[in-house]
């Protein structure tokens, strides 16, 4: 069976810090997790960007487990808005993207965005002089 890798933003409700949820993902569902970004506002909420690698069926079960504990799960690429039609390929965003998601094509010199490599550092949001990026790590819908 295929092993899949997904980047998911988890949004934790208040008072959810007492459950070792990521431990369960590893132990019970055999998901390899890699924490790419985390932000905790005690008593309010928390956001976590996880890269999860597992069999598809285990990944589905792991996400269902999280959602059963009121943790919202959304793929990272759904939370990234990029207005590509207005992009002029100036390259400013590629200067700050150490994850390698934003790169210049060395032949056409057009900017290319591989969302799968994004770690939601959000540096591009401010670096783009046309303000074409919006990454929603914290708030959700």
């Amino acid at each position: 069976m295929n092993i899949v890798k997904r980047r998911i933003i988890l949004r934790f409700p208040p008072q959810s810090g007492d459950k070792p949820l990521s431990y369960v993902l590893v132990k019970d569902y055999d998901i390899r997790i890699n924490i790419l970004k985390a932000e905790v506002m005690p008593g309010k909420r928390g956001s976590l960007l996880l890269e999860m690698e597992a069999r598809q069926s285990n990944l589905d079960k792991g996400i269902a487990y999280l959602e059963a504990h009121n943790v919202e799960c959304q793929p990272l690429d759904k939370r990234i808005q990029f207005n590509s039609d207005k992009c002029i390929s100036c390259g400013n965003c590629t200067a700050v993207c150490f994850a390698g998601a934003l790169t210049m094509n060395q032949v056409t010199w057009k900017m290319e965005f591989n969302k799968e490599l994004c770690v939601a550092c959000e540096l591009c949001v401010k670096a783009c002089p046309l303000r074409l990026f919006d990454i929603d790590f914290r708030d959700g819908n």
Partner: protein
């Protein structure tokens, strides 16, 4: 005897649709197998271009007179201050002027919206005079209601520009983009071998009156640009190895397109304007053929530390190295990124080539050549005693 061509000969060929036009990138390729003598024979015109943020840009506007009329002494366009010291209903709106309530919105944005035909709120105040009795007006304008909008940019198209790095431990927000701490990135802004003033470094064909592509239409070189510096250090090819000469350019903004004039906001710096400029260079003789043959490996620029006071010099790199994605500075490998659009510059060079091939764009010989031996003055702080 080496071949010499005149503007008239080349223009005759353009009119007949017989002129051979290459972009500066194409001629740099051709030069790998052809001598300059052969290039003069084969090529008539080389198109160069650039598309970068050029802060010293703006537009003259004439609003027309209201009834009763007003002598506008304080002017706001969508809240952005425009100059109020220029006759009754003339103004100059600078690209970097900003709305104080929204500093991310400035003159460049108003210019782009005007080009796109959008409505702009004009508010103006005057003291009221016998001939201009009105003291205040608040109305809506757009490109169709105003008499003229004339783009006039005092300093564009820099001949070469520095590479920016940041050696400090703090992130720096600059007009050269976001510079990560500890030299984690380096940014550069020149189109290299495609850049106009690098292909004619001694201004043999570019001067006052040169017809150019600007912002999507035809315009002119109006004058040498401000901070016009011709005595900066040059390499063995005669090309300055740092920012040197500039151009003042002019064109009818009513004919321009936001595809080639684009507003920008730089974090913790301010508003600027991306300007698209294309300049044709006639291949008049062997000397010019040599100049336009230059390629990225032959163009050097200076790496400066934008994080430290005085921007200390850290070394030199070529555009070939910059384009490779990585340079070495003080023994450290540094990732590079452009901050001006080569893709757009290529579009402009190709468009200009097409216009010339079709006979829609003739070359204009400069009516006055640029000065030589110029340098820059700093600004002294002189104590003023009342």
């Amino acid at each position: 005897m080496a071949k010499e061509k005149s503007y008239q000969e080349i223009n005759e060929k353009i009119k007949k649709g017989e002129a051979v036009v290459l972009t500066a990138e194409e001629v740099a390729q051709l030069a790998k197998t052809c001598t300059p003598e052969e290039i003069v024979e084969k090529v008539d015109v080389v198109t160069t271009a650039t598309f970068g943020a050029m802060c010293s840009s703006g537009v003259f506007i004439n609003f027309g007179h209201a009834d009763p009329p007003i002598r506008m002494e304080k002017i706001r366009l969508n809240g952005v201050p425009a100059y109020g010291g220029l006759a009754a209903v003339d103004t100059y709106l600078g690209a970097t002027s900003v709305n104080s309530n929204n500093p991310e919105y400035g003159g460049a944005h108003v210019m782009q919206e005007l080009i796109e035909g959008k409505d702009i709120i004009l508010e103006a105040w005057g003291k009221g005079t016998d001939c201009y009795p009105r003291k205040h007006i608040r109305t809506v304008i757009n490109k169709n209601t105003i008499n003229e909008m004339i783009l006039f940019n005092p300093r564009n198209a820099y001949q070469n520009y520095n590479v920016a790095v940041n050696t400090t431990s703090k992130i720096k927000y600059t007009y050269m983009g976001t510079l990560l701490p500890n030299m984690r990135n380096a940014t550069y802004s020149t189109a290299g071998e495609l850049s106009p003033l690098i292909n004619d470094p001694e201004f043999k064909t570019i001067g006052v009156g040169t017809r150019i592509f600007i912002g999507g239409t035809t315009g002119y070189v109006a004058w040498p640009g401000t901070q016009f510096h011709t005595t900066k250090p040059k390499d063995e090819n005669g090309v300055p190895i740092t920012n040197a000469a500039t151009l003042a350019v002019i064109g009818n903004m009513k004919e321009m397109s936001s595809a080639f004039l684009q507003a920008a906001y730089y974090e913790k710096y301010g508003v600027s304007l991306f300007v698209g400029i294309g300049i044709p260079i006639p291949v008049l003789n062997v000397e010019i053929a040599k100049r336009v043959s230059i390629n990225n490996s032959q163009i050097t620029t200076t790496v400066l530390d934008y994080g430290s006071p005085g921007q200390p010099k850290l070394g030199y790199v070529t555009y070939e190295q910059l384009r490779s994605g990585e340079i070495e500075v003080n023994g450290q490998k540094v990732r590079t990124a452009p901050v001006a659009s080569l893709a757009k510059a290529r579009t402009i060079a190709a468009l200009l080539k097409e216009m010339i091939e079709k006979g829609d764009f003739l070359l204009q010989e400069p009516i006055q050549m640029f000065p030589t031996g110029t340098s820059l003055k700093g600004l002294a702080e002189i104590e003023i005693t009342e």
